[in-house]
Every structure is written in structure tokens, then in C-alpha cells.
Amino acid sequence: MKALVCVKRVIDYNVKIRVKSDKTGVETDNVKMSMNPFDEIAVEEAVRLKENGLVSEIVILSIGQDSSQETIRTGLAMGADRGILVKVDDILLEPLGVGKIIKEVCEKENPEMIIMGKQAIDDDCNQTGQIVATLTNYPQATFASELKKNEDGTLNVTREVDGGLETIKVKIPCVVTTDLRLNEPRYASLPNIMKAKQKKIETIESKDLNLDISPRLEVLEVNDPPERKAGIKVPDVSNLVEKLKNEAKVI
């Protein structure tokens, strides 16, 4: 089974983001970038499936600028086999456009499993996996917390849904989006980081794909959220309970 893992380069989750003063977006210059944490879980899952003999080849796909090569290398160092970068330079990509690009790559690569994080921690859309599943007409198993391969080749996927866990059975090819509980991603070892440098990354220009990936949303402005003001320090437990009861009226 060939797995295509889609990864996004985002501002590292530990960075405190800053809204640009002209309100056009969020400051990304000189900010630490990393692989979207949910995508890291997707890479880890693919690598584990390969270690268990269920996946034969792992291809990492990222869509972005040249800098996304670095993110692909992270996946290669974790154990993926090769990478594909679809280059987009000026356009602000939205999930629908990203989904269309991934679908094109799928047509060329024919993966049996397309796996990615359930959402990216920058735009928080939670859409791309569902879009790819719809465009390819493959079944979708979103918010996965467990994957099990059945003897007939189908996959049982346990999904984290509100209030519990749902298990569905999907035929392959399929699209899986990963949730936190699925696994804990490994750190790449130094020898593997060195090895990853030799692995191949193919570059495709998005304009050569002839897709309509123009944005449908216009970002009018990006603002800081309403600020939370520091409150008061209370002297003891009774005072805390009294305030919660009578002032905040929440208990």
C-alpha cells in the first residue's frame, strides 16, 4: 500500500503569534516555522504502518514555497521515502485550492491511503481531508485515533467524535485525517536527518497543473482578539468560592 502524506508548514505551535500592524495578516518574517503538529502525527502513522509491513512506500507532499522543502525533509527524516513540493508563489491558497492540487497529485501517484492532519494550526479550517475525499470520491475517515487493517484489505478507523469514539470501516483507497490520540510522533535521529538529505524531492509548479485555485474568500482584516485583562488575586479558598458564586455567578 502506497501512502501519500500531506504536510503543511506553519508557525511553530510554541511561538506567540503577532498580528501585523496593517492588519493584513500575521507576522511570519523571522518566525520559527515547523510542520503542522497534526500532520506530524500523520507522518508518524504512515511510518509505523510501513514498519509493520502494511505500507510499502511513503510520499510526502507539501504545497507552498521553496521553504516547504525543509518541512518535507522533516518527514523524510522521520522515515518517509520521497517528497513532492507543489510550488505556489503569490497566491493565497485556501483549502479548496489545496484539495484540487492534492487530487491532481493523487491522479499521478495513485496512493491507496492519503493521510494528513485533521486541521492546520494556522488557519484552523479543518477541511482539506474532507475536500480531497470528495474530489477523489474516496471514503473519508476524519479525526482518526486508531487505524486497523482488516484481512479483506479494508481499514477500521476509530474516530474522535463529540461524546465518544466512532469506528467506521472504509475501503481503500481512502483519506484519513489524524487526531491527537493516534500516536506520539518520534524525533528524527541525527543519522536519519543526514540520510533524509539524500532522498529525492520532486518539484511541480502549480501553474503547470492548470487548476482554478484562485481564492474565494477575501480577507478584509486580521485583528487581535479582545484582550483578557488580568483579574485579581484572592487571599484564600473561601474568598475564591465567594467570588465565583456571587460576583462571576458561575457556580
Partner: protein, 312 residues
């Protein structure tokens, strides 16, 4: 303009998330209909027909819709939409809506607007990005808009009406590539972390998993859900579905109680929409105090038993 709200339910009752989504729909246009899909949903219909704001309940009652498989639901929704003149389709941004919304949008070739928290006009919305650390104001250029709505940002609408219903017959078939296997409802008697009115979370300061028992009694008394910081999850104190924060669950309860949590950026990102935040921490310099309405400096191992007592 006319909106359609896709109803989330559990087979017996509609979910509060649906009522909040209807409130949001009314802010876009006064003309709101709903569509509910399921199997043996007479109870859901009875309940739904009492809902204010909406002018009509459309429903489809078929065996193959029982388990709310997105592939099946989206097929039916698309055939329902044929020859109808809806301008907006809204779903709650629960796991139900997140799973289904993008499918509908993609079939219609529109860009879904996820998780809106405010409506300016029929095409302009605010949505949180970077886990709520920034708010993006976006204008949609698509002629038909598919929107998911953050339920905690809109009051559930009232139910004092009597609305007519209309059955929608479908010929579409069940998806052959996906089937339902099981659903395990969380065993806990506590409310869900993401919809609880009160959440109490522990951090690295709890020192080990055993000590989380100190939070349990308090959670029981308050009817609170229990959570944890990433540090506590990474240390193995509690399972990672307890994790509150940017990469965990985003919560917005009336009261969030942070115990032994320093207040790392990624944790704050997941709790900052809470109405009130209270914290207990022995380090009075901890960043969590800068975000808390009520802070109590001290040793949590002394404070927690007292707090439980005080709640009696």
C-alpha cells in the same frame, strides 16, 4: 436570501449546537428552513417542530441515514438542494459539521467558511485563526455560502412554536465504500470537555496521574469536565484526549479552573474564550495569572481539599 440549517441530532433529540446555528442563520436572513436526516427520527421531528425562527422542517427518514455517514448525508443534501434557492447552508462546527460541511461545499465547488464567531452581513464573517490568537474578517465571493458556526458564540434559539414539516424522498443509495461499525459513548458521567459549562484542568504541578483524583471530587461537585495541559499529557499523567490547548481541545466554558498550570502560550490559546478563568498556582509569577479573573497563590495540595470542602 434564504438559509438552510443542517440539524445535528443523536437519533432522539436535537443537539443544542443546532439551536445555536439557527440563531446564527437568522442573523443572515429572516428566512430559515432546516433539514434533518436520519432513521426513525419522529422524536427529533416533534422536538424540532417547536423551534422558533424556522419556517419549515424538511426531513428525510431512511434506514441508511441512521449512522450519519458523511458520504450518505452529503448525497441526500445535494439532491435536496436541487431546484431550491438557498443562499446559505449552515452547520454547527461540531465534529458532525466539520466532517460533513466541507463535503457539501466541495460538491458545490465553494469554499466553506469554517467556525464563524460573528456575522457582519450576508457575506462577511469573523472567524478565529491560530486557535483564537487572531480574528480574521473574511468576505465570501461564492454565490452560495457553506458555513460552519461555532455554537458557543450564539445563544440557542427558543422552542415555543409549531412549525410544519415536509418529507423529502430520496432515491440515492448507501455508499459502498464506507460502513458504520461501532460507537462507544464516553463512559464518564461528566460532560464533554468541549461543551461543559465548567472545566477544571490540571498541569505539571499535579506531579502525577494519581493526584488528579484531587480534581475529581471538585469536578463532581461542580458538574465539571476534566482536562489537562500538554505538559501533564506529555508527562503521561492523563490520556491525551484530556489535552486542552491549541493542539488539543479548544474550550470556552463559563468557568475554567487551571490548577498547577503555568499558562504556556499554546494552553492559553485553547482557553481564552472562557467567560471566567480561575487559577491555582504556587508560583505567583506564572503567566496564567495574567489571564485569570481570579488567581489564588498557594500549594494546590493544601488548597484542593479545602476547595472541595468549601463547595459542600
Amino acid at each position: 436570501m434564504k438559509s438552510l440549517v443542517i440539524i445535528e441530532h443523536d437519533g432522539k433529540n436535537i443537539k443544542q449546537t443546532s439551536l445555536s446555528t439557527i440563531t446564527a442563520a437568522e442573523q443572515i436572513s429572516k428566512d430559515v428552513e432546516v433539514l434533518v436526516l436520519g432513521s426513525n427520527i419522529s422524536g427529533v421531528l416533534e422536538n424540532l417542530k417547536k423551534t422558533d425562527i424556522i419556517s419549515k422542517v424538511n426531513y428525510c427518514d431512511e434506514d441508511f441515514l441512521k449512522h450519519q455517514i458523511a458520504e450518505n448525508l452529503s448525497e441526500v443534501i445535494i439532491s435536496f438542494l436541487k431546484d431550491k434557492e438557498f443562499t446559505h447552508i449552515l452547520l454547527p462546527s461540531s465534529t458532525f459539521g466539520k466532517n460533513l460541511g466541507p463535503k457539501i461545499a466541495t460538491i458545490l465547488d465553494v469554499q466553506q467558511i469554517s467556525d464563524i464567531i460573528e456575522i457582519f452581513d450576508h457575506e462577511t464573517f469573523a472567524r478565529p485563526i491560530y486557535a483564537g490568537n487572531a480574528i480574521s474578517k473574511v468576505k465570501s465571493k461564492d454565490s452560495l455560502k457553506v458555513i460552519t458556526v461555532r455554537p458557543t458564540c450564539f445563544e440557542p434559539c427558543a422552542q415555543n412554536s409549531n412549525v410544519s414539516d415536509e418529507k423529502f424522498e430520496v432515491s440515492s443509495n448507501q455508499s459502498k465504500s464506507v460502513e458504520f461499525v461501532t460507537y462507544d459513548q464516553s463512559e464518564s458521567d461528566r460532560p464533554e470537555l468541549t461543551s461543559a459549562k465548567i472545566v477544571i484542568s490540571g498541569g505539571r504541578g499535579m506531579q502525577n496521574g494519581e493526584n488528579f483524583k484531587l480534581l475529581e471530587g471538585i469536578a463532581d461537585k461542580l458538574g465539571a469536565a476534566m482536562g489537562a495541559s500538554r505538559a501533564a499529557v506529555d508527562a503521561g499523567f492523563v490520556p491525551n484526549d484530556w489535552q486542552v490547548g491549541q493542539t488539543g481541545k479548544i474550550v470556552a466554558p463559563d468557568l475554567y479552573i487551571a490548577v498547577g498550570i503555568s499558562g504556556a502560550i499554546q494552553h492559553i490559546a485553547g482557553i481564552k474564550d472562557s467567560k471566567f478563568i480561575a487559577c491555582i498556582n504556587k508560583d505567583e509569577e506564572a503567566p496564567i495569572f495574567n489571564f485569570s479573573d481570579y488567581g489564588l497563590v498557594g500549594d494546590l495540595f493544601e488548597i484542593l481539599p479545602k476547595l472541595e470542602n468549601e463547595l459542600n
